[in-house]
């Protein structure tokens, strides 16, 4: 199989997406694999968690037009084998830039293709909303992981994404959800999770619990699995990664 590209995506924000991608990318790299995390979200939360600032001269258009520049802007994290392509604020204009070129949905795939000899896994942290950027992700990724908080609205947005895939002929097999920020003491969470097995939407077995530790990643600026490996959330990320690997 070609280089696995694993994207984390949800139309809705605030679902624990960035925390999941940072922790899973770290776990993949800790196994000795060279891993690249591409932070495509202009908010740059993944870059922030890993203490990475973008190079001053790096612009969104480089991602589309100048493949060589992309490699130059990759930065090593504090952790061996884990690199980051940091987000820049100008990524908010990516859609406009992409709209102006031919084959606008294949650009990201092409950029990542240039990096396939260097890395064993590529993780994508994607901005919310369905835009041309997201559609580039749908084309490029082998696996699209959708973090879903067990709430009605969150389920609805996953449903919408699934419909979008069908309507626009994207491979629905790439799409798979996992429950995130789960609070088992909440009846609604339990209910939605138990009903999910009847739904046609696919979910991973393992769930990520809601955790104050994960929220503190913003302060420690390190993956929780690295500094609190035995925390509930860390163990859950570990199980999730094993399950994802098995699918790949």
């Amino acid at each position: 199989m070609a280089l696995p590209i694993i994207a984390f995506y949800n139309i809705k924000g605030g679902v624990g997406k960035t925390a999941a991608v940072v922790n899973l990318a770290f776990l993949a790299s800790r196994e000795g694999n060279l891993v690249l995390l591409c932070d495509l979200d202009p908010q740059g939360a993944a870059s922030f968690y890993l203490r990475i600032r973008p190079t001053k001269k790096y612009r969104a258009r480089h991602l589309i037009t100048s493949k060589g520049k992309v490699a130059k802007n990759i930065k090593g994290t504090d952790f061996e084998h884990l690199d980051v392509l940091p987000a820049v604020l100008s990524y908010r204009n990516l859609d406009i830039l992409l709209g102006g070129i031919k084959h606008s949905k294949n650009q990201l795939q092409e950029v990542l293709h240039h990096l396939q000899n260097e890395y064993r896994y590529i993780f994508l942290d994607c901005p919310p909303n369905i835009t041309l950027v997201s559609e580039n992700v749908f084309v490029a990724a082998n696996l699209l992981l959708v973090p879903v908080i067990p709430t009605t609205l969150s389920m609805l947005s996953y449903q919408k994404l699934s419909n979008f895939f069908e309507k626009h002929d994207y491979e629905t097999a790439k799409l798979i959800g996992f429950f995130s920020m789960v609070e088992t003491r909440k009846k609604l969470h339990r209910q939605i999770i138990s009903q999910s097995s009847d739904s046609h939407l696919r979910f991973l077995q393992n769930q990520i619990p809601y955790s104050a530790e994960v929220e503190r990643m913003g302060l420690s600026r390190r993956p929780v699995v690295e500094y609190r490996p035995h925390a509930m959330a860390s163990l859950a990320y570990e199980r999730l990664w094993q399950e994802v690997k098995a699918i790949l």
């Binding site: 990475i52 600032r53 802007n73 930065k75 090593g76 994290t77 504090d78 690199d83 600026r221």
Partner: protein, 504 residues
Amino acid sequence: MYYLLNRQNFIQPILQKLAESYQIVKRPLLERNITYFDTFDWRLYKNGLICHQQENVFCLSSLKNQKVISALKISDGKSFRFWWDFPGGVIQERLAAVMDIRALLPLLTLRLRIKPHDVLNEDGKTVARIILPAPSLKGGGRPKPRLKVEAIRGYPADYRRINQLIKELGMAAEEQPYLLHLFAKARLTPGGYSTKINIQLDPATQAREVVRKILLQFLSLIKLNQPGILEDLDSEFLHDFRVAIRRTRSITGQAKYVFPSGRITQFRRRLGTLQKSTNHLRDLDVYLLRKGRYRSILPEKLQSGVDIFFKSIQEERSREQQKIKSLLSSPQYLKLITDWENYLQNKNIPSSRNSHIEVLPFSQKIIGQRLQKVMQKGNQLIGTKPEKKKLHELRIECKKLRYLLEFFSFLYAENKISLMVDHLKTLQDLLGDINDLSIQISDLEQKFESYRQSPEPDAVVLAGMGGLLTYFPQRQQELIKHFQETFRKFSSPDILAISRELFG
């Protein structure tokens, strides 16, 4: 970038200097073992390569700039000896090109206690690492520590700055590969093994002195290769061992009356017996080395027959190897080597007819005579359909001549002698291939017969052997057709003119 430090505590001023501009964070101590490998005759080193294994990663790098060419994760317990043991890929490809049939052997193991320090910027982000291992060699020896400034991708400015700060302390970046320093500490001479004669003496030196020096070099090759045969590391140890004995016998036979002939005849006989007892193992080695070729000759359906046949050869080889192992550990063998060494070291051996004549005229005479014999025997075969037996005799003469040219090459102009050797080599290769096929045919015929009469002969094996027995004579006839043309090139007026000039 690397810096060779004279002592471990030289790290302190470096860290202090860096702490003026960065935050330095000490990381936990790591312990690592690195084993370096090469073939016995330094084929990797000679081709500018290094390979090493650290934990479960096998790595091939360039000796010059130490850049990694390719790395390979090894599953537990897996070890690699020959290039074909590696999975297909860059490492296998590069090693195949230089190692040929030689085994990869451990040269030295470096034990490292590594103290890493992270260099952090004002964001608390690691921008480089300072790695200082305390090295020691397994088996003794303390190499100098080597400090490494490890770059982190995306922070080139900090990397440059850190190196600049270190250089301001008067440190210079490492110039020579660290491995050379390790070799010196481990008392290894890289590239030190060669089967070529290395002699530089005055042409007026007495013949005995030169012959003695040549013979001592062969003796040293015999001794150097003996352990590799005992350990059965690869088939080249036995090959080089045998070539050294053959050359010893060749020069003692051709350089007559340099030493008193009585003792020399005795030694030649004893060495001849030793050589003969290793013949069978060498034949089996040659068989096994040809397995791939044999398979490729046959159609796919018959190839499994070759596999079964080779399995029995492999078993026979294991038994033969044990015999040779006990032979080379026997008191008789050790006595022969000691006696021969003592004889060659003895300065009081009585003179003989040719002991004191100058080596140049002496070599001219014996090379000239040998060349004449080669020409005579070769010319007799021109214009006829040469008999295999006659070709074999010519092959032996050519080999004797080749050895003489090599032994005494230091006395002659290099370009002229190598032109002769090149032409002779082409002729020898052809004669060698023809002779090889004769041996293979007669050997295979014997094996075919005995296999046919075994209790349950496999039809595919018989068919495979039959296929080879049809192919070999055809191939041999094709080669024989090339003889006339090849010999004419060797005996061309140009070559004859050179030989007259050099040997009179």
